[in-house]
């Protein structure tokens, strides 16, 4: 308990120091993108990793979060924290509702239904004239950036706070009684139900949490890119990253998506600068295929396998020596 929060505070303070010490805005743009991936990866993993319901449409909630933010900004000019909370609430409710409709499906059928849901969401947004429809909407960056040097620094810190909240929640969930129930569902849903686990209720909790953090990750997005249209909000790149990061890091533990997001996110940002931004999606694809075929447990799984083998090779000779 103590160590996690100490680390989280440390990360937050480091973020603050970073905004104070560094002037080049590029780092904050990069940092924002990585943190966005981290939040989405953590959100995806609550349903896809902990519970075992692989979801191809969850990035749709990210887009909805972004558009809730656009709509409320236009209608009421609410400040950013309210937009984030509102997006989180709306997307959480949507997660609950779509979960109720789709979570009775299993495996590939569930995955396909989530893909269909993302397409429905995109169609709805594309035809929602108030937020710009297919042609998109411009958002003027607010002038006031509190005590930060620029608005992107403020957005970076906002994302850092959401990321810490998302990771803290995922960690709490995975160590709680609910988390044990989710693991049981992932391992064998029928056995879990027969052992007293209220499977439908826990799956809905999981889908709601996924929706909340996806929505929150999307809410600041329009202010970040200043022009949002369905193509950018429903971008394949964002959607694929949200799934690739947990798979690369490891889906069974809360820190898996964090590791995956940092590694994949950093690699992408570095290649954008050094090689080309077009190469990014290719990198995700190749790395993802590599991990799925060679290390389905992700980096965390690799490390666990490795340490288990070392333990065994250490234990084996001494056990033989005793006899």
């Amino acid at each position: 308990m103590g160590r996690f929060w100490l680390g989280a505070t440390g990360v937050f303070m480091a973020g603050l120091l970073f905004t104070g010490a560094v002037d080049n805005e590029f780092y904050f743009f990069s940092g924002y993108v990585i943190l966005q991936g981290l939040i989405m990866a953590t959100a995806w993993n609550i349903l896809g990793g902990f519970t075992g319901y692989v979801n191809f449409g969850s990035a749709g909630f990210f887009a909805v979060g972004a558009y809730i933010s656009v709509a409320l900004h236009q209608a009421l000019a609410l400040p950013l924290p309210f937009l984030i909370l509102a997006s989180g609430m709306v997307c959480g409710l949507m997660g609950l509702a779509t979960g109720y409709l789709t979570l009775r499906l299993k495996g590939i059928y569930f995955a396909i239904s989530t893909l269909a849901m993302a397409i429905v969401l995109e169609t709805v947004i594309t035809n929602w004239e108030y937020v710009g429809g297919a042609s998109g909407a411009y958002i003027l960056t607010p002038k006031d950036s509190l005590f930060f040097a620029s608005y992107v620094e403020l957005l970076f810190m906002v994302m850092l706070i959401i990321a810490i909240a998302a990771v803290a929640f995922a960690r709490y969930l995975s160590t709680s009684r609910t988390g044990k129930g989710l693991t049981a569902i992932r391992d064998d849903e029928l056995a879990a139900e027969c052992m007293g686990v209220p499977t439908l209720r826990l799956k809905l909790v999981s889908a709601t949490a996924m929706g909340v953090f996806m929505g929150m990750a999307g809410a600041p997005f329009p202010f970040f890119i200043t022009f949002v249209d369905p193509l950018s909000a429903f971008s394949l790149f964002i959607a694929v990253n949200a799934i690739a990061m947990p798979l690369i890091g490891g889906t069974k533990v809360w820190y898996g998506p964090v590791i995956g997001a940092l590694i994949l996110g950093l690699t992408q940002e570095i290649t954008t600068v050094t090689i080309s931004s077009e190469l990014n999606l290719l990198i995700v694809g190749v790395v993802l295929i590599g991990f799925i075929t060679l290390a389905p447990g992700g980096i965390v799984g690799l490390v666990q396998d490795f340490s288990r083998k070392r333990l065994r090779s250490k234990a084996a000779p001494s056990a033989g020596g005793d006899r």
């Binding site: 009684r177 044990k180 129930g181 693991t183 049981a184 992932r186 391992d187 064998d188 029928l190 056995a191 879990a192 139900e193 027969c194 052992m195 007293g196 686990v197 209220p198 499977t199 439908l200 069974k252």
Partner: protein, 241 residues
């Protein structure tokens, strides 16, 4: 006769046009040992799926401890004290042996146990079943017999009044069968009623106080083991005309 623990009244279950259970009634007294036998496809597993809530019956009613549970989802029935093991073991594969037991302790039995003692409780059960040495083993590494024992241990951790054992001995050697039988006898002495589904006749005849025979979704015979062995209908169901 004392009030039945379980009273299955005229239940029917069809899958499309196939009638898996046709107007079957079964009752069970507290602490009783009932054998449920029948040829393959006779409806035994469908019956216990309906009792445990994995499936819902189309017609009829299921009453447990005087309460109509026909419409209750499986997890609620588990909390009331109905536990089952699975024909094909269904361990929680990402967990260790002892963690497998913590799931029913923290869910099915949660309102009936001392929360501070669940680890000791899980360990006690493993000790009784003979899995204590394997407590921290990954359950993917277990042998067939240990996997079967884990099924029983996990069902036991749900603190049941009724345990349904679905072919807990299939594929085991003769000594292993005796070992599992011993476990089930001890369990029953602790007051748990048991429904045993089994193809190994030696085991089911020795264990059961009463046997119900299903064939093609109907109950064709019921009585003490000795009567069942000599029942012409049962012979016909198993061996044909």
């Amino acid at each position: 006769m004392s009030a039945p623990l379980l009273d299955v009244r005229n239940i029917t279950k069809s899958f499309g046009g196939f009638v898996a259970l046709n107007d079957v009634s079964i009752h069970l007294a507290p602490g009783e040992r009932l054998g449920l036998i029948g040829p393959n496809g006779s409806g035994k597993t469908t019956m216990i799926n309906c009792v445990s809530g994995a499936l819902f019956n189309d017609g009829g009613a299921i009453v447990f401890e005087g309460r109509d549970i026909t419409k209750l989802p499986a997890y609620r029935r588990a909390r009331l004290g109905i536990a089952r093991s699975f024909q094909i073991p269904k361990p929680f594969r990402s967990m260790t042996v002892i963690e497998n037991l913590l799931v029913p302790l923290e869910f099915a039995a949660w309102t009936r146990i001392d929360h501070g003692r669940i680890n000791e409780e899980a360990f006690d059960i493993l000790e009784r079943i003979g899995l204590a040495d394997l407590a921290h083993k990954n359950c993917g590494d277990l042998t067939q017999i240990d996997m079967r024992k884990l099924e029983l241990a996990r069902a036991l951790a749900a603190r049941p009044n009724l345990l349904i054992s679905d072919e807990a001995m299939a594929g085991l050697s003769s000594e292993e069968v005796d070992e599992v039988l011993e476990i089930l006898f001890t369990l029953n002495e602790g007051g748990v009623a048991v429904i045993m589904i089994e193809h190994i006749m030696r085991a089911v005849m020795r264990y059961s106080e009463r046997i119900v025979v299903l064939d093609a979704g109907r109950k064709i015979a019921e009585g003490p083991p000795d009567d069942i062995v000599h029942n012409p209908d049962v012979e016909r169901a198993y061996l044909g005309e």
